[in-house]
Assembly symmetry: C2
Homo-oligomer: 402 residues x 2
Amino acid sequence: MTAPLHEARPTGPGRALPDTQQGMRRRNLARVMHAVSAEGPLSRAAVASRIGLTRAAVSTLVDELIRTGLLEELGPERPGRVGRPGSALAVSGRGPSGIGAEIGVDHLAACAVDLRGEVRARAVRHGTNRGRSPEPVVEELTGLVRQVVAEAEREGLWPAGLAVAVPGLVARDARTVVRAPNLDWQDVDLGALLPGEFPLTVDNEANFGGLAELWLGADTPGDFLHVSAEIGIGAALVVDGSLLRGTRGFAGELGHVPVHPDGPECVCGGRGCLEQYAGEEAVLRAAGLEPGEDRVGLLAGRAADGDPEVRRALREAGTALGIALTGALNLLDPEGVVLGGALAGLAPWLLPSLETELARRTAGPARPVSVSRLGPEGPLLGAAHSVVRAVLDDPAAVAERA
Amino acid sequence: MTAPLHEARPTGPGRALPDTQQGMRRRNLARVMHAVSAEGPLSRAAVASRIGLTRAAVSTLVDELIRTGLLEELGPERPGRVGRPGSALAVSGRGPSGIGAEIGVDHLAACAVDLRGEVRARAVRHGTNRGRSPEPVVEELTGLVRQVVAEAEREGLWPAGLAVAVPGLVARDARTVVRAPNLDWQDVDLGALLPGEFPLTVDNEANFGGLAELWLGADTPGDFLHVSAEIGIGAALVVDGSLLRGTRGFAGELGHVPVHPDGPECVCGGRGCLEQYAGEEAVLRAAGLEPGEDRVGLLAGRAADGDPEVRRALREAGTALGIALTGALNLLDPEGVVLGGALAGLAPWLLPSLETELARRTAGPARPVSVSRLGPEGPLLGAAHSVVRAVLDDPAAVAERA
């Protein structure tokens, strides 16, 4: 196994980088971008009052952001107000864009999202990737990426970076897929296979799904556990608005939490893991069905038709999810749980038994379990938005590359 | 139940406080304190090179810290070197001190720790607090606190704050004990019962134990799970050098992770929780012993003497800990696990079965399980050191109050 690279981490104020005027300017540029992104269009005066800097200081920062194409002026505000009319500022719909891509077990996808968060190009290819070797899969994905980049460029956008969601564990170097059992991949350096012209980030699909929920979900709290499933079951732990990644980058392996310690053997080497009760294939098996390509569609369709075997299998999966989540809630005390990915489509049949189990086992007021509205789109959107967020978080870095 | 107060949390750079010269000065004062604390005695030039500021900037900061009594000069370094001899700087052994206190099920304790991390005064009272009402317990604890404060004051120290460790869940207001089942306390506002002259922080003993391990342990990683037990079993999750507290402040309830979901009923309302297999009373029960005051001493003594019933009970507790920790490691991916509190004293008989279980159930390289050398002292020391760390982290705030 490739030794995972650890990100440098701050270890107390004494070790952090010194505060400099230059660093202050960079952070204040980010504050302006975030204020306009979250609440714009805004006048310079409104930005100044939002972020607590003087109007003069904000004007200098805004001029720089307009010059580098990250903000744009919408023209003078309507007259009739007191004083000189200010020009409203908005995040640019041209300039840098985030390219997201996804390697799913049964599909490949890519999209381009502008700084305003709008999807401006999209490409998908269906068909299983299970058991295929990485090279042809990545070659096809690269074709989709080039397609959305070309489409975005025609609209005046340029790619600020590429983020790829994968169904497996990713090392903290953010490019190596350490283990993707459902693709049968191990130690694959995607950085060596993907085109080198964009800054690259590779992450687990559950992580990007959780981030999408944080950034795009309606009323999502800042602390939550996002649980998603494709073939495996993964979780993303969002704490104070950030992902908890773990030392090696492997946090969130809810699928391998023991539910019945003497239960059936699992691919991980353990026994009775959640995945053995609530993974898509386990549920299909329990319902007496053959796993095909549209597993969730099959289960949801049969459950909606009232198939008692499928309903029972989903009820039992919900119970197992409830047991594993009881442990996770006791350990992490999040504000809530969000069911995403394939679980979102099966929620009507999973939720009742899941919630009964949580209510039986956890003290205090119930924590809300909600269903993601992004569903299977989450990881792809999360990937593209992670690039956009990086631009908002440090606009100076992008301006240097523009 | 009292509604827990949530700490204000940053939600992206746009919402943070603006960077100001004043804030920069405060952060640089902290950098100087941390550098001298971690590596002192140091000359001004050595501090400047450690933290990446100019010597002139560091001299101004150092003068301020000497004036307010947080740093002291040890006199000129030995001659014979090139240039003007510099005076070595050290953290002051007088000035502010951290007062720690602990409400245990079977004891009360208090201590004073100086900025150098040395314990300068200590007081303990043995005897059960189970079932006693909060007022007389806190009155006794206040007596111990006043005793160590008086002793510290005779040595030129003054109390910068009081931190109290309790065996229960504490709200995020850091003063209300929401639930301490082994004291039989509920919704006790310690802030109203303790003397009002010191800034107060109340926290769970497992949290203070974990912090003590982080700050005082030998080679403790920055990411670890600290597992401790008194009557209950608690964990502290240290991530990137900080405690993960949870939304309500209740994270780390490892004792209520389900181990055998159909197992015996637990006080929490659940079934088959870890506490039912590895809590002190469960182990005593399994070994056919009566719970008395020195439960750990009794178990450790019998196990050392080779008592087969006690050894079996501890072996089974280790297995249950291994199952619950498998779930925790899969969710959190820490660098390692540290056994503290009462578990440290029982480690020789718990560890073999615990490690066997982890090895059976978790893929990849084994994560090290180590034993705390602080043992039952951890929470009290962690409490006192939390006050000291707060002084190092923002020396300007303390200087204003000196």
